[in-house]
């Protein structure tokens, strides 16, 4: 195949973003959850996490956060909600991606549904990490159209950079992700805003990023790709 419509480009891009959102926030959640173990019922760890991600803190306790942030599909910021959106974007791309690739999205969705209410989410959700790794491996193996792969990966890199900036990852990690994004963007034909990209590079390359500049970088990262 060769022809990709504009609508499909959007789905590819957002599939990359949502899959990555689930992956990276799950990794971070493992850390947050571990920190919550040492807290009382009303912790301080998760409110800070919500603030970093700019998601409303609708949770009433550590336990409530652990359950609803992970499994509540009605909560648009939950892992389950983000996985649903990854699936929604993927399901319309079967002929680009293959049934094999889509099966990893389906399994991820099923896993989140079956793990809901688990008392040991760090254990029960480990296979979700495995499925997402397998998803990307399968994309590399099964998706013949290079442009499709690259557009998805642009979405993936944009999302990871966005999250690393929000979660205040260090210069080295953020810089590495930025390099990967630049490399990937240049591999595709999608339009991007060079000026905004330059400004993000400038901000990320600083040893210390001021709060305002970090916010600016987050905003600009979401605007680099112009086709959306």
């Amino acid at each position: 195949m060769g022809a990709i419509s504009l609508e499909k480009v959007e789905h590819l891009y957002w599939l990359g973003r949502y899959t990555e959102r689930v992956f990276t926030t799950l990794q971070k959640f493992f850390e947050v959850y571990d920190n919550m173990i040492d807290e009382g019922i009303q912790g301080k760890v998760y409110p800070k996490y919500c603030e970093c991600l700019s998601i409303p803190n609708i949770y009433t306790s550590n336990k409530d956060f652990a359950m609803r942030y992970l499994f509540d599909k009605k909560n648009p910021d939950s892992l389950a909600g983000n996985m649903e959106r990854a699936y929604d974007n993927g399901i319309v791309l079967r002929e680009e991606l293959s049934s094999e690739v889509l099966s990893y999205l389906q399994m991820s969705l099923d896993l989140l549904a079956s793990a809901a209410g688990s008392g040991a989410p760090l254990f029960t959700l480990q296979p979700l990490v495995d499925d997402i790794y397998a998803f990307w491996g399968c994309v590399d193996d099964e998706v013949d159209n290079r442009e499709c792969r690259n557009i998805m990966k642009v979405g993936r890199r944009v999302e990871r950079l966005d999250l690393y900036l929000r979660l205040s990852y260090g210069k080295e990690e953020t810089g590495k992700e930025l390099s990967k994004l630049i490399h990937r963007i240049k591999e595709t034909d999608i339009r991007f805003n060079e000026e905004k990209l330059e400004r993000v590079i400038e901000i990320v390359n600083q040893d210390e990023i001021a709060k305002e500049e970090r916010r600016e970088a987050v905003r600009l990262v979401g605007e680099i790709v112009e086709v959306m």
Partner: protein
């Protein structure tokens, strides 16, 4: 075979993994449901299949000739074989298609013919689906998984490999292609058969598109990619109904069609699969006349029988229907998908009276058929083999030649008291094995 049955649950899990679902609207809400697979196959012997194949090809060839005749010469009406009234009062007849001859003269490229097998193993045609019959993808993927689950079953039995449907589809699309890419047009993921649209696109190499990806310019149909490049479309396998395909010709409210598509089609610049206007040939009222069409166009004796059918439109038939309503099944000619079907045996006295009045008042709207005593097929239900009603949708593809796919969708009712096998009404499906010797 035992090892195949032992793996039924795993096969169903794999079907779920691959997203083998169909959509259904309940209370205005869209839900995706798994289509339960039963691993006990329908088995069609080599000899049975030879007759079935010949009969299906004969029927579809006659139907294709009928469609051409109706939209051009209307000789069959002039010769008094099919009453004029039956054709022009049908909602399936589209005056907009008058005089339009599709590429290579093929109207029904993909025909889904529904049959049942009686207890004496003879086949009866229940209905013809010549618009957008769906269902081939389910046995296609189920066979793939069944072979993985139980290779020895397929090694030990001489079963014709059915995993060529997408190649047959591709050949059909290529044969009528007017120059350009093959496109499968879907109304979107909230359509009941979306899995099938996307799966067939994946397997056949066609581009899956929505109306927003397609446009008409200078009497040609184009697909627009994200770089702004336009690719000419040579074959459009549309999975939306006639009334929605072109708001400039049909339903003006349609937002899922392509404006001016019919102009491109009339000019012979794109093949539309299946041709618009085919609804006239799969009208449940016209069904009655198909054996006569075979004799008329092909000068052959019909190989496959219709279920015994009465047209209340004819006085003699109407009298019979009114007198025997409690033993007949009545079908609304405008309905599909198992809807609009009522069994006289399920009606109380008041309902029988109501239906008698309705049939008298709107005699063209209904047909009535004898209830065929289906050959039940076994399914596994809670660990036990139990008999259930089942039908077969056979797929006939018309390209350079007319070919029958050596398989089909066998649907069964999960309700022991029901004859209705449609997936939308809770039924399941089976693989259909055709034996090669």
């Amino acid at each position: 075979m035992k090892s195949l049955l032992d793996h039924t649950q795993e096969i169903n899990k794999m079907l779920a993994r691959y997203g083998v679902k169909f959509g259904i609207y309940k209370n205005n809400e869209f839900k995706e449901q798994l289509f339960p697979f039963d691993a006990i196959p329908r088995v069609i012997t080599h000899e049975e299949y030879a007759e079935l194949e010949a009969g299906l090809i004969q029927r579809v060839d006659a139907l294709n000739q009928f469609l051409k005749d109706i939209y051009t010469e209307k000789q069959i009406i002039k010769d008094g074989v099919v009453p004029e009234n039956f054709v022009f009062s049908s909602s399936g007849y589209l005056p907009e298609c008058e005089g339009v001859i599709p590429p290579k003269d093929i109207y029904s490229h993909i025909s889904g013919i529904d049959l049942v097998q009686a207890k004496d193993r003879s086949w009866f045609i229940l209905e013809d689906n010549l618009r957008i019959p769906s269902g081939a993808s389910y046995p296609l993927i189920a066979r793939e998984l069944s072979r993985r689950a139980s290779p020895e079953t397929f090694h030990e039995n001489a079963i014709v490999d059915n995993r060529n449907y997408h190649q047959m589809l591709r050949e059909t699309m290529d044969y009528v292609n007017c120059g350009g890419i093959n496109v499968i047009m879907t109304p979107g993921r909230y359509n009941a058969a979306y899995f099938e649209h996307s799966y067939l696109a994946e397997k056949s190499g066609a581009v899956l598109a929505m109306c927003s990806d397609l446009f008409v310019e200078e009497n040609q149909l184009f697909y627009r990619d994200y770089k702004g490049k336009h690719q000419k479309v040579g074959t459009l396998y549309r999975r939306i109904s006639d009334e929605y395909i072109d708001p400039m010709t049909f339903n003006k409210e349609s937002v899922i069609g392509i404006p001016n598509l019919m102009d491109v089609y009339r000019a012979g610049n794109v093949a539309i699969i299946n041709a618009p206007g085919n609804g006239i040939a799969d009208d449940k009222g016209i069904y009655y006349f198909v054996p006569k069409m075979i004799e008329y166009y092909l000068q052959e004796t019909p190989i496959l029988k219709n279920a015994p059918t009465y047209l209340p439109f004819y006085e003699e038939d109407r009298k019979y229907v009114l007198d025997h309503l409690e033993t007949l099944v009545v079908k609304d000619v405008a309905e599909a998908g198992g809807y609009g079907v009522v069994f006289g045996s399920d009606m109380n006295a008041g309902e029988l009276e109501h239906w008698r009045e309705l049939i008298q008042r709107e005699s063209r709207r209904f047909i009535a058929q004898e209830v065929i005593d289906f050959l039940d097929l076994d399914i596994m239900e809670k660990g036990e083999r139990v008999p259930r009603k089942a039908d077969l949708r056979a797929f006939v593809l018309s390209g350079e030649t007319t070919k029958v796919w050596a398989s089909g969708l066998t649907r069964f009712s999960r309700n022991p008291d029901s004859f209705v096998v449609n997936s939308s009404q809770g039924g399941g499906f089976k693989d259909t094995w055709v034996l090669s010797r």
